[in-house]
């Protein structure tokens, strides 16, 4: 988020940058929002975080003036396709903050009809070719269902 983005954030026109405004328009019309990222420091990559900060602004994801209006209530699907270097047990122990950020915080902006689908692969650092292929199949299959 640049100084220009930030200064516009609480103004009447919070989308200061044209490419971000185009993304926000896509989100407004979308039926689903899918995040695809490798887990870094237990959370989303800086690229994903920057996109959330800049695109999901007041008037897009939520509204500060009219109370808790859910800006993303039109979404039918909120999906995470996520890679973890660590094994599932270690991720469970240390916490999955990317999942928390999306399934709690972003999900709070969704509505009663927003369904969350989470497709994660664990232990990517040591995964065999067959395991990778199985995960990719699972992603394709999961996205057909959603």
């Amino acid at each position: 988020m640049s100084a220009q983005d930030r200064r516009a954030y609480f103004s009447a026109k919070p989308l200061a940058c044209a490419s971000v405004a185009a993304d926000a328009q896509l989100v407004r019309r979308a039926g689903g929002l899918v995040f695809v990222y490798p887990t870094t420091l237990s959370t989303v990559t800086p690229g994903v975080k920057g996109w959330i900060d800049r695109t999901l602004v007041p008037g897009v994801a939520f509204n500060l003036d009219t109370g808790p209006r859910r800006g993303l209530a039109h979404l039918r699907h909120l999906v995470g396709i996520v890679l973890h270097d660590d094994a599932r047990a270690k991720v469970r122990r240390t916490g999955d903050n990317g999942r928390r950020l999306i399934r709690r915080n972003v999900r709070l902006c969704g509505g009663p009809r927003t369904r969350t689908t989470w497709l994660a692969m664990y232990g990517c650092g040591v995964a065999e070719v067959a395991e990778r292929a199985a995960f990719l199949d699972r992603v394709e299959h999961g996205m057909m269902l959603t």
Binding site: M1, S2, A3, D5, R6, R7, T40, L41, S42, T43, T45, P46, G47, K49, G50, I52, D53, L56, L64, T94, G95, N97, G98, R100, L101, R104, N105, V106, L108
Partner: protein, 167 residues
């Protein structure tokens, strides 16, 4: 004894930038000479390695202080990128992790939304520091609806307490 302060707010007129000023003042008052890394002001580029002077400061640091706004319950992207590089550099001597931050929502609202940023430091960064330092926070919740008095009180609290939180 070496304190590294990392700042990540794009606007110099912001409350977080004011908190940075008071952090540095509090540290100097307590006899420290903080090494400041201002990510926006120095046009930090995550595609390049951390500058050698900053990398040396991280290696030697006994305290790491993060001064940042909390957006979507977490760190700004630029700070996430920097921390990811910094833990690879190796904060081998860090004995204290300190966060100075402002959060738009209330305490309960942040709790419901998951406080993922706080947990990133507690659970992902702390274990990557050789000495497993404790994480202390100075936070102003509900900054979007705060009064001038609350903001002034926060800044005073930062300056008064930061010296005791670092080592």
């Amino acid at each position: 004894v070496s304190v590294v302060v990392v700042h990540a707010h794009p606007c110099p007129e912001s409350l977080v930038a004011a908190a940075l000023g008071r952090t540095l003042a509090g540290l100097r008052c307590a006899g420290h000479e903080p090494h400041l890394i201002d990510l926006y002001a120095s046009a930090y580029d995550p595609a390049l390695p951390i500058p050698p002077a900053d990398a040396a400061a991280v290696t030697a640091a006994t305290s790491l202080v993060f001064v940042h706004p909390t957006w979507w319950t977490a760190h700004p992207a630029i700070l996430l990128a920097w921390i990811d590089q910094a833990v690879d550099v190796g904060p081998a001597n860090v004995r204290r992790l300190v966060t100075v931050t402002t959060l738009g929502g209330s305490r309960i609202g942040n709790l419901l939304a998951g406080e993922s940023g706080r947990r990133v430091i507690d659970r992902a960064v702390r274990p990557r520091c050789a000495l497993r330092p404790p994480h202390r926070r100075l936070a102003l919740y509900g900054v979007d609806t705060s009064t001038a008095k609350q903001r002034a009180g926060f800044l005073d609290r930062v300056e008064a307490r930061i010296g005791a939180l670092v080592e």
